[in-house]
């Protein structure tokens, strides 16, 4: 653990001096926290939605609105859309950090001296991975916490507030989020082994958000219902996927692979 923490501290002290990385890590949580709060504020406790009924919601969604008024259900519908967008944070932030961290080392030729130290492959991958994933997970949790407190301060009804503590939200934020971060880091490692420019790696690895966007548009159109069951399946699926991706990433991070096969 000692070498892992040494590496993580070095990564953070170096990567966060990069304005592009800092911008991504700072701007995304800010936007994804502020937007739903602004939406709730605009929609208000009632916000002109007094005439809206649960019948105005997609039928599949309406069943999640037990105990909520029509207006609250409408608010809950929009806020639930943001849940999927919250998942962008544990996907995009690690990609950005890992791309600059790993590809940056390739381009500055610092990998070989690093590999020459007693650090093991697992420590190296864990250090780089955690340095990329932890800020993303922390940003996600912090944003959710700020959103929940903000919603309370905006006077959102107790029924809606209780929904935010629903297992769906808790599993999504505290389980799926970290699993997405691991997947994102592993994907970034694989991409980074083949490209030599951090921005190219960032753009290619950013493709990892596509499945999430599909899910988002599926929910908006009513084709998919994001509920506890779906979120649980996501968690299970991601666990398996993470195991596979990590195995690939560990293989790619072997010293000989890095020195002889990385472009």
């Amino acid at each position: 653990m000692h070498k892992i923490s040494i590496l993580m501290r070095k990564e953070w002290s170096e990567v966060f001096k990069n304005r592009l990385v800092l911008g991504t890590v700072g701007f995304m949580p800010l936007m994804l926290t502020a937007l739903p709060l602004v939406l709730l504020r605009v929609m208000g406790g009632d916000g002109g939605l007094g005439e809206v009924g649960t019948g105005d919601m997609p039928a599949s969604f309406a069943q999640l609105c037990e105990g909520l008024s029509g207006a609250e259900c409408a608010q809950y519908f929009f806020v639930t859309e943001f849940l999927l967008l919250y998942m962008l944070m544990p996907l995009m932030i690690p990609v950005t950090i890992a791309a600059y961290s790993i590809v940056g080392e390739k381009s500055t030729r610092t990998l070989e001296p690093l590999l020459a130290t007693p650090i093991t492959t697992i420590e190296l991958l864990a250090g780089k991975g955690l340095a990329a994933a932890l800020p993303a997970v922390a940003a996600t949790w912090l944003s959710f916490g700020v959103f929940a407190v903000g919603a309370r301060l905006l006077g959102v009804g107790p029924g809606l507030l209780a929904k935010l503590a629903d297992p769906m939200w808790l599993i999504a934020i505290f389980v799926v989020g970290p699993l997405l971060a691991v997947a994102s880091v592993s994907f970034a490692v694989m991409i980074s082994s083949r490209v030599n420019e951090p921005r190219v790696a960032e753009q290619l690895a950013g493709l990892v958000v596509l499945p999430l966007l599909l899910l988002f548009f599926g929910q908006v159109s009513g084709l998919i219902l994001l509920d506890s069951r779906l979120v649980l399946w996501m968690a299970l699926g991601l666990t398996v996927l993470d195991a596979v991706l990590l195995a690939f990433a560990v293989q790619l991070f072997q010293r000989e692979s890095i020195l002889t096969r990385w472009k």
Binding site: K17, A116, E256, L259, T260
Partner: protein, 308 residues
Amino acid sequence: MIVTERLGKRFGDLQAVEDLTLRVNAGEVFGFLGPNGAGKTTTVRMLSALIGPTSGKAWVAGCEVGKQDGELRRKVGILTESPGLYDRLSAERNLEFFARLYEVADVAGQVERYLRLLGLWERRHEPVGGFSKGMRQKLAIARAMLHEPQVVFLDEPTSALDPEAARLVREFIGELKHEGRAIFLCTHNLDEADRLCDRVAVFRTRILALDTPAALRRQLFGRSVVFHLREVAPAYADRLRALPGVSSVQIVDRRLVVGLDDPEGNNPQLIRTLVDAGADIQFVGELRRTLEDVYLRLVGQPDAAETS
């Protein structure tokens, strides 16, 4: 400190290193010379446990390569061809990071020691990105030494250095040698290798020759004396060839280049013979073969003396 037995490395169809057997002792500076693509970097990577061999065995600082790699890396220091430093971190932070990875007990003390030794202490807080090539090279040398390794691999240590800095580094290498460390030096600066190295190996996938620089010069070229004459006639060469102890005579412009086993013993007889033959001798000297001549002869290029 370094022992290899028929060490080899193959990448697919390419045999990068073949049948490498050598020994480097403590307190020795060993030069490893070869053209680009010869396999020198591959050899250093195997011996520093960065990549594994595909054949043969090696032991470095008492650790077997491929079996005790973690412990081996604690005992060796390596200066890679490219310094490889973190531009956004200061010189001090760069060294502190590596000192911690190498589990150095007194991080601050070692960092200060080597920054002062290499003349970088006053610039320790500055980001490395603003350093000149020479300063980066010195910082990379400091990084290789932080954990006081018993074996040091240096790849082009004086490249990009001004003469003063290069001299400082050469003196530093000399001190390392006197401290009993084994130094494995890869360099294209053959003059430097000639000055620093106790023994050298000329290498191209396999060892072409291995010995002290003086012995290699004798083995390949013997010793030669050059007579600078006002005018050269073939008869002079014929007279010299008939003398005992003369192995060869060449006419090069207005010079006679005479191969001898014992110049000190034979020179008086040669001079008398030439004077008797009517030659006007302007100058006599021994032909100084360089390590460059040895290297070029071994790797298949015409040597400098023959073309001058």
